[in-house]
Symmetry: C2
Subunit: 503 residues, 2 copies
């Protein structure tokens, strides 16, 4: 591989002292985001996460308890996710729209399971007129949207109806909040489709789940398991939920997205009916599906290291950062060449860091903290040799590459980094999945923070036992070959279940 070759070349390459990121900078300024991370990822994952999120400039806690400020750098990542996924769903028949964020209390009550699932964390609006019913701030929009759908859907010609909304969501969490992972307000998309048949609904649920998987694996470089939830973990009001689950380096599963088969539950309570070709009035079939700003948290956790964030190239707001290396006499010529390179590499959202008040070493630290995939260094000696130095953020590998043909080289290196990051994360996921034959094995593996694959009889008792004794839940279930036994009770298995602690 070309990259490796360049890496070896660099062993012989004697570079200016300032190329070494280890060097302490003299001109360090008092700015919060310049202090490195004070704990190791392996030692205190939770503290490490909080520091990376804040020091890389992704998000801050706000004065509103449990709410976050999404800073420009993280918002740009979110925009890249939105841009990719929005194009994907539009190409498969979805249109965007916007529904009110207020939901009458009576709407929740119409679907009993839905009410039970969401009421505890609903925030209500104060009403001056006490005769009017209470309005909730949407924790999810099934009810308000389906009340409207009941007016829009008349005939089979109106189906399928596929609408998505990008919006903010409020869930007044009482659990401890964490930036991106659990906050009282977050951003998401929610897709809501209506179909004529059960078969179409099943296809739609899988189509959206597959699109999520593609987003997560090819863009975020976060591998996921995809499968149905157990009944107790199913969306409140759904027939079944297909979930995308990632596994984080601290040994906890993270639910990345869900796609629900709502059957006719909501259609029946909100009266979504259509006149079919046979002139009969029928209840419609529905799906809903969503992903949120939580995905940004998964990127931090899955890829980051003790130096900070590591961003997969495809969703990185800045893919290449140029750090010029100069002394006073070479400043002009180096900067001028760097500007030329910046302009040549514009398509990679390349940023030239030409701030005079910071040393190169200081800049190396900052851009490593922010996880920019490639650092490009250029000094007078590089110019003499007709080369630039490239440093991969994910591996730390350095390589001298010819100045000529740089664009092609960057393009292929970014692709390589994307692939390598996914491969590394996939190896971690695969190696974390461990089979358990019985309850003591299961218990031990959960304690070891593994993702445990085991037979399950399908009973809520066994599921509950694992939860109360080990703090682990079933993340997804798969079809079993029905030859094995339930790892909890020893009866015949109905499913293969994946157990883990979870965020």
């Amino acid at each position: 591989m070309a990259d490796k070759t360049h890496g070896h070349e660099h062993a012989e390459h004697k570079h200016a002292e300032t190329h070494k990121p280890e060097k302490k900078q003299e001109k360090r300024e008092q700015k919060e985001d310049l202090v490195g991370i004070t704990v190791k990822k392996a030692d205190d994952f939770s503290e490490w996460y909080n520091q990376v999120v804040q020091k890389a400039g992704l998000a801050d806690y706000s004065v509103i308890s449990g709410c976050m400020v999404i800073k420009p750098y993280a918002y740009a990542i979110w925009e890249n996710i939105v841009h990719w996924f929005d194009a994907k769903i539009k190409a498969t028949g979805v249109q965007n729209a916007y529904f009110p964020m207020f939901i009458p209390e009576s709407f929740f009550k119409k679907e009993a399971e839905h009410f039970k699932g969401f009421i505890p964390e609903v925030a209500w609006v104060e009403r001056k007129d006490k005769n009017e019913e209470r309005y909730a701030l949407r924790p999810t929009s099934e009810t308000i949207i389906y009340d409207t759908y009941s007016k829009w859907v008349r005939s089979w010609r109106d189906l399928p109806l596929r609408i998505n909304q990008w919006c903010n969501i409020v869930r007044w969490e009482c659990k401890a909040t964490r930036l991106f992972l659990r906050t009282r307000e977050f951003l998401w998309q929610e897709g809501h489709t209506v179909h004529a048949t059960e078969h179409e609904v099943e296809q739609e649920v899988m189509l959206r789940a597959e699109q999520y998987r593609e987003l997560m694996e090819t863009q975020l470089a976060v591998p996921v398991l995809m499968g149905k939830k157990s009944k107790s973990e199913t969306f409140a009001g759904a027939i079944y939920t297909v979930a995308l689950e990632a596994f984080m380096p601290d040994g906890k599963a993270l639910q990345m997205g869900t796609s629900h088969n709502l059957g006719q539950h909501f259609a029946k309570v909100f009266g979504i009916m259509y006149k079919d070709k046979d002139e009969e009035e029928k209840y419609a079939w529905q799906t809903s599906w969503g992903i949120s700003t939580r995905l940004i948290g998964s990127i931090v956790m899955a890829h980051g290291d003790d130096r900070g964030l590591i961003l997969p190239p495809r969703i990185a707001p800045i893919k290449v950062v140029i750090v010029p290396i100069y002394k006073n006499d070479s400043k002009e010529v180096v900067l001028s060449e760097c500007k030329k390179i910046e302009s040549e590499l514009r398509m990679f959202q390349t940023k030239l860091d030409d701030r005079d008040e910071y040393s190169p070493g200081w800049k190396f630290n900052e851009w490593e903290m922010k996880g920019v995939p490639i650092r490009l260094e250029l000094g007078p000696k590089d110019m003499e040799k007709g080369q630039v130095m490239l440093v991969r953020r994910d591996t730390g590998e350095k390589m001298a590459v010819p100045r000529h043909g740089l664009e092609m080289k960057i393009s292929s290196l970014l692709e390589q980094i994307q692939k390598d990051m996914f491969r590394k994360a996939k190896m971690f996921l695969d190696s974390s999945i461990k089979p358990a034959k019985d309850f003591s094995e299961l218990k031990k593996l959960i304690e070891d923070r593994k993702l445990v694959k085991a037979g399950w009889c399908g009973s809520e008792e066994c599921e509950e036992k694992v939860k109360s004794e080990n703090g682990a839940t079933i993340r997804i279930v798969e079809e079993a070959d029905h030859k094995g036994k339930c790892a909890v009770c020893g009866k015949a298995e109905k499913h293969t279940a994946y157990f883990a602690k979870a965020y």
Copy 2:
């Protein structure tokens, strides 16, 4: 002009009967959006507006009183607006971010004018814990954002800071609500910038106002007046407000966007200070600026006619609709050619309406209601002649044009429509501006629903008199030559003011 020529050609062109949009369709179905508008724009503007918005499929009232559902067709217009403006501000140093939608009550109280201006229409969140202070749903985000800015801004190096957010806004209006124009929740962008000097702030305020003007005039084809607001109409907490004002066909002004010079008011109460190059701590200078989904209402009002919506090409979600004209024996060949054309014209968001269950006449009505700029008709006779029929939505002009070179023709025709729509709206604006020398003239012109340009002494008494006696407000003020007199009190003028009734 080529267009005109084609129009004349068509005088000789004998076309299939179904080309006439006047023809009543036989297969009319029972669907709400197919019933035409039952009032004329000139007779009952308000009812006409409500019908167009709903029948063109832009928005619906929701079950939540005063809130709207933005339907996919209007949301696609909003996306076009967002896309254009977002690129514009990003190219001039702005980054997007997201701040909590909740604002502590105490934050409002910090800036007295701001508090007075916004408190009456604030919606509050119910708090379970009565010891905690109330949270408002953001009616605008100056306070929550500037509290955060006070932690971010440290040194002159952090400036200018330019952040924008696209979000929903809640203003619990007690006035009658109208779709897009005044609803309790709407979508908008709010830009918030911080600068080192007063001079920079003045430049920033004008830069954003000019970008708004460009958006409105070149994209929405809605001409605007731009100028400062009088003190009583200035944003609560600002030094001055620059407003963009359009004038609607019913003789009322519509505020389209505003850009505020906040001076150091907020910086002082929220403690936004920076260490300058001279090592001194100084208060920062600020601006904020916004536009909202109200702009969609302006497009409807400015351009629509008795047949429905007329969309300017640049923001139209569908720029060309193809309606095939066939009998049973020609169906296959016509449809196949239409599909070919659809694919050739994809860059214009071209839609082929190949629904078999509706007649061409029915389709003409529907796409006219939805304001698609160009209708392309193709029948067997057109194919023989190597031509297609184009119909402009804005003028109704029909033209037979050669099948060959269609792409170029459509491209130039869309540009022509865009220009013509702006020119027509500009002529209306210009002809609506009438000078008044004294109070009786002013009164008469306001009654005639004109935009009255008159001298103003600058006193709030005179402004208030016009408001209470005529229901008109000062929309913007300009520098006067100080030779004329105040049209209200007869004293020397300080400004030239534009008076009108307003939305």
